[in-house]
Symmetry: C2
């Protein structure tokens, strides 16, 4: 917890945004306390990730923090193998994750303030996705957190198709960035990879 | 964290079971670390609650701990208002939460050991549920954690219909147990309520 606190404060101290990938999903007063714990105080991050499974009352307690420039990304279509188990199930002709995106849009209307993109964003992995067009249609007013580039095989062409126009995507690279580097040249290789990634990913919004 | 650690250790020291209602839902190595953190070491509980949204790879890392007498309850139908938003959506003629129960049954076959009831249980709130019979049919081999008795209006007749035969339910009472007691007679009222609840709930398995 001490290490986490130090990392979070350091990143914020250099003016960068911290996304706490905590995938919380609890209701009412509990969600309110999680919101407070993750978006203020000693462990203050700027954005959290949330699970939609329990519905609106697991998400709305975070709204109060949006007026303080905070945000949330709600899991819609994750990039792991198991995302097929429930997120891809077909409801009224479309996958469950599309229903999640539509609900986020509906709930966003209740957030006070005037935003071009809703502070209630969505996590959408594009690996193995067939219908980028429908996904884009359902997410044009929201920020997207896009995992899976690199190790999990998200295609740069798909990412471009999704965010090129609106420039509303945050692309996450984890294992593809840090994995398999020797301790002796960690800084050097990390720096090279960062430059390479910046070059590749900037293509998505050109 | 210190208070949590002390409460968990105390309950375990008197031989009672600790259910850590953490509603975790993350994948692979992260899920493995959450499993380790919640089911061993300083914060060791006996059972955790998990969110199914990310699918099997968010649940299976907990299986290793089942051989050490640990267990998990996966959220299927929760007792909050927002449970309707996604859990009740109809897929192939049945609500999503029924698909979750069926998947848990399928995954349970891969858990080593010989159990009458799977250590991979399910959270099922019975308030506002219409089809207790189908729910019972899909949960007869698993333990159920049943929230919502008291404040959220779960009906004792519904709970009885669900668990009387198999005696496979753990009934949770939170607000209905602790809310609205003056500090001066906290112990006394709590004790009275506990006796009353024990009487009411024992009716369910008679």
């Amino acid at each position: 917890m001490v290490a986490y606190q130090q990392i979070v404060s350091y990143i914020r101290s250099i003016g960068e945004i911290v996304i706490a990938d905590v995938k919380r999903g609890d209701i009412g007063s509990t969600a309110g306390l999680y919101a407070k714990g993750h978006l203020s105080g000693d462990f203050e991050a700027d954005v959290v990730t949330l699970s939609p499974y329990m519905g609106k009352d697991a998400i709305s307690p975070y709204f109060d923090f949006f007026a303080k420039d905070k945000g949330a990304f709600v899991l819609a279509k994750t990039s792991n193998e198991g995302s097929k188990d429930f997120q891809d199930l077909i409801i009224d002709g479309q996958p469950l994750y599309m229903s999640v995106l539509q609900k986020l849009k509906e709930w966003s209307k209740e957030i006070p303030g005037n935003y071009k993109f809703s502070p209630l964003g969505a996590v959408v992995g594009v690996n193995e996705l067939k219908d980028i067009k429908a996904l884009k249609e359902n997410s044009k007013d929201t920020y997207l957190l896009i995992p899976g580039y690199g190790a999990q095989g998200a295609n740069i062409e798909d990412i471009r198709a999704l965010i090129q126009e609106n420039k509303n995507g945050v692309i996450n690279v984890s294992r593809g960035y840090t994995a398999g580097i020797n301790e002796s040249d960690f800084r050097k290789v990390l720096s090279q990879r960062a430059q390479q990634l910046a070059k590749e990913l900037s293509e998505c919004i050109k």
